[in-house]
Subunit: 126 residues, 2 copies
C-alpha cells in the first residue's frame, strides 16, 4: 500500500500534518496539506503545505530559509492525519519561536508564553 | 487571556487537538474538540473529543479504560490548534497500538507497521 492510496483528504481536499522535531520530540506546528503538497513533500524531502488563507501551495522556509528536512513520515490508523518528523532549520514559527505551541495554559487557566524567541520576525518577513 | 477566548474554532465549531505522551514525547493521536470538549478537558483533567462520525461528545477511555490524564495544554500561535500532553493509560489507538501513528512510510513509499500491539481490540471493544 502506497501512502497516497491510504490517505483520506477532507471535503476541501486537505489533510492535517503534525510536524515534530526528530531530535527533541517537540511538536513544532500543525498545517494542512493537499495531495500536491504531500507529493512534493515526498519527492523533495522538504515540507509543502496548502495555505487556506492565501489559497496557494507553499514550502516551509521559502521566505525565511527555515526549511524542514523530512526524516520520517507516519500516517494514523484512519489515514486522515500525518505525522512528519523533521530536522528544523532554526525555527518553525513565523513569530520567532522554535515551536508554534509556545503558549501554555496555567493552573488558573490563563495563557503564558513559554520558550524563547530565536529570531526577530520583522527582520525575516519584510 | 483565557484559553477559550484565544481559540479559533472552524466553521463546524471544531479545533484539532494533538495528543502527546508527556514522558516519551511520542505523538499519540489527533482528534477534534468542540467548545464543550475543551471545557470538559480543562475541568476534569481527562481528554474529551467531538466525534464527527457519531456526532457526539466522548471521553477517551470511556469504553476501554484507556484514559488520558492531562498534564499540560498548549495552544499555537494562531489559536487554531491545541497540543495536549498526557499520561496515557495503556494505549491511545483503538486498534491496539500505543500511538495511532503506527504506519511509517518506507524509502520505497510503501507503508510499514512499526510499533507493536499492546492490547487486543476485540477483547476491549465488544
Amino acid at each position: 500500500m502506497k501512502l497516497l492510496d491510504e490517505l483520506k483528504f477532507n471535503s476541501q481536499g486537505l489533510i492535517p500534518a503534525i510536524i515534530q522535531d526528530l531530535r527533541t520530540g517537540e511538536v513544532l506546528m500543525m498545517a494542512w496539506m493537499n495531495r500536491e503538497a504531500v507529493e512534493k513533500t515526498l519527492c523533495t524531502g522538504r515540507t509543502y503545505f496548502w495555505s487556506r488563507s492565501r489559497r496557494k501551495l507553499w514550502m516551509k522556509g521559502e521566505k525565511s530559509g527555515h526549511y524542514q528536512l523530512v526524516k520520517e513520515i507516519r500516517v494514523d490508523c484512519d489515514g486522515d492525519s500525518l505525522l512528519i518528523k523533521v530536522n528544523q532549520i532554526k525555527a518553525a514559527c513565523h513569530t520567532g519561536y522554535k515551536s508554534c505551541f509556545f503558549k501554555k495554559v496555567t493552573e488558573k487557566g490563563d495563557l503564558k508564553i513559554v520558550g524563547k524567541k530565536i529570531f526577530n520576525p520583522e527582520k525575516i518577513y519584510k
